[in-house]
């Protein structure tokens, strides 16, 4: 018979909750079964992660100190890979490109998402709110490769719809995909077009959790229009803004599909990104050690940015 004591189940947010499964069985075999049962449940996930995530991380760090082209045996080269990678002009350019891309794309993405989210959440007919929310979310369900394919045609210099629209306003044809600046702009625009909906959803959730009373109090104090958003919405939304910006930056740092399909990194190296260089050095030049070294550097940058953001948040984020 069960002698388990019942503990009140909360909302599931407190991690150290006492588990309930403690029905003691009289036989020894039953107790043994109890002990290994959780591990049977966990085995597929834990073993899978060990093989496909944890071991590869260790292997990747180790590989960064070897020269290996698959064909011959790997040779230990110490920090040579890192030294070569840091001095390689292509790698340098690609990292600078990636950082510029992250700054511009994330700023655009968050600005657009926040502005539109505030507009959608204010007083609107319900059916319109649903329509706009679905419309802005829609690009997220498409494949970045497909999006990049049709966007390439839209940005075509002679026949593209974008330049045709600009010509109506009287702007001469922009050489989108044939110049370094134009290509970078296309990659950023296409990326933001597809991804701003994610930040938009996060902001919608954040705005929905701001109590109406706060705004009522603010308007009694005479805050209207933009002042209301400046003094109420932005401070109260700062936890959401932090999460949205961390996620947007981490995703943007790993950009690959759009530049690969739109420009192949060109013209020159103008739209080559960090992940593209990892891909090329590993799977085109078979320099697996160097590819791993670049991967390790990128991961360190991602970790540093995440840590910095959470540290900054302690000073600037306002929690209720």
């Amino acid at each position: 018979m069960s002698t388990a004591t019942s503990t009140p189940t909360g909302t599931g947010s407190e991690p150290g909750r006492k588990p309930i499964h403690k029905h003691t069985q009289p036989s020894k075999r039953g107790r043994m079964q109890q002990r290994w049962l959780p591990w049977a449940f966990l085995a597929p996930t834990i073993v899978g992660m060990g093989i496909f995530t944890l071991l590869p991380i260790i292997a990747s760090i180790a590989l960064a100190f070897f020269r290996w082209d698959i064909i011959s045996a790997p040779t230990f080269v110490g920090f040579d890979n890192f030294a070569e990678v840091v001095q390689d002009p292509t790698v340098r350019v690609s990292f600078i490109n990636t950082i510029v891309f992250v700054i511009v794309a994330v700023a655009l993405q968050l600005g657009l998402a926040l502005g539109l989210a505030i507009m959608v959440q204010e007083k609107l007919p319900a059916w319109l709110r649903v329509f706009f929310r679905s419309a802005f979310f829609f690009p997220l369900i498409l494949s970045a490769a497909s999006v990049s394919i049709f966007m390439r045609y839209l940005f075509n210099e002679q026949f593209g719809v974008v330049n045709w629209l600009l010509s109506i306003v009287g702007i001469p044809a922009v050489p989108w995909l044939t110049t370094p600046t134009g290509s970078a702009a296309v990659v950023i625009l296409v990326y933001v077009w597809q991804n701003f909906g994610f930040s938009f959803l996060l902001f919608i959730g954040g705005l929905a959790s701001i109590p109406v009373e706060t705004y009522e109090a603010a308007s009694i104090d005479g805050a209207t229009g933009w002042r209301k958003h400046w003094f109420v919405t932005l401070p109260l939304l700062s936890p959401t803004t932090l999460v949205a910006s961390v996620m947007a930056i981490i995703n943007a740092l790993q950009v690959f599909d759009q530049p690969y399909v739109l420009t192949r990194g060109g013209p020159g190296d103008s739209t080559r990104t960090a992940v593209m260089v990892i891909f090329e050095s590993a799977f085109q030049r078979l320099e697996f050690g160097q590819a791993s070294a670049i991967g390790v550097i990128l991961t360190l940058i991602i970790m540093a940015i995440t840590a910095a953001q959470f540290r900054l948040s302690k000073r600037f984020v306002f929690y209720q």
Partner: protein
């Protein structure tokens, strides 16, 4: 999990009637313009794919397919083994989704309702793996796949994608929301722990599992980076890869053919969008604190 929908509140600005109407109109216009920029490219893609290849670059562009013409779709089937691409994509995506649902349900249940040593630490490790960018592990995973003789097979795409940290996290949340008393009642009735999971908890967790499945489907149907690395021969290509190679083969001569392929590849995603949008939105924003 509360849905976004349930928590939506509107902020009614306390202003005079006349001014409010004006501001609503301005906002609707701005939002409509934004929607045109978001949906316009997709509509253009659809309408261009429904025109004969000779009219691909027609300006001013048509955004509505008024006289649908299926020449481009016939051409796609001729120039591209689209059936094989769809079968590959469906196999890869379907098996990953099912695999993730099963493994995430088991692990999530263990983390939520079973007691074992090192539970907290192990769950932290699972969460930490979410932080690792795929590009860092791709080289060793590629070596491993090659080592066991699976390179250039669909299994190379399927197996590594099945263990899911995010899915495990979601399912743990979901199971924690189900009362532990159910397990006690089942134990009193003499059900084994496995039976308790299978007959009591798993059926109740179906909505959570649907989210895991839909997210997996959406992500892997659109995936480009891993297939690009793991598959070499065209018979193992997935849809996004096949479309990009089609684009390369054709230059810009008959873009409506390429766009027809793009539209075909969007159809399953559209179906998911129609029926699973709420689940998709909740899943995407789960665990972000809001």
């Amino acid at each position: 999990m509360t849905t976004i929908q349930e928590r939506v509140t509107t902020t009614a600005p306390v202003v005079t009637r006349k001014k409010r109407d004006w501001s609503v109109a301005v906002r609707v216009v701005v939002l409509l313009i934004a929607s045109v920029f978001v949906l316009g490219p997709v509509l253009w893609t659809l309408s261009t794919s429904l025109r004969p290849p000779s009219e691909s670059f027609q300006l001013p562009p048509a955004f509505l397919p008024l006289n649908p013409d299926l020449t481009s779709y016939e051409q796609v089937f001729k120039q591209l083994n689209i059936v094989a691409l769809v079968v590959n994509s469906a196999l890869v995506t379907g098996l990953i989704a099912v695999g993730q649902m099963i493994t995430a349900a088991l692990a999530g249940y263990a983390f939520a309702h079973l007691k074992f040593r090192g539970r907290g630490a192990l769950f932290s490790i699972v969460l930490a793996t979410m932080m690792v960018p795929a590009q860092v592990t791709i080289v060793p995973v590629f070596m491993l796949i090659r080592g066991v003789g699976l390179s250039d097979t669909l299994l190379a795409l399927i197996i590594p994608a099945i263990p899911t940290a995010f899915g495990t996290f979601l399912m743990r949340q979901y199971f924690m929301g189900l009362p532990g008393e159910l397990a006690e009642a089942a134990a009193i009735d003499g059900a084994s722990p496995w039976r308790t999971f299978r007959s009591v908890y798993a059926p109740l967790a179906m909505p959570g599992l649907a989210i895991v499945g839909i997210l997996a489907f959406n992500f892997h149907w659109n995936e480009f980076f891993r297939p690009l690395i793991m598959t070499i021969s065209e018979q193992n290509f997935t849809l996004p890869l096949g479309l990009v190679s089609l684009q390369g083969n054709l230059g810009t001569g008959s873009i409506s053919v390429v766009l027809a392929g793009v539209v075909l590849s969007m159809i399953p995603a559209l179906v998911v969008f129609m029926f699973g949008q709420r689940a998709l939105q909740d899943g995407l924003t789960a665990g972000t604190g809001k």
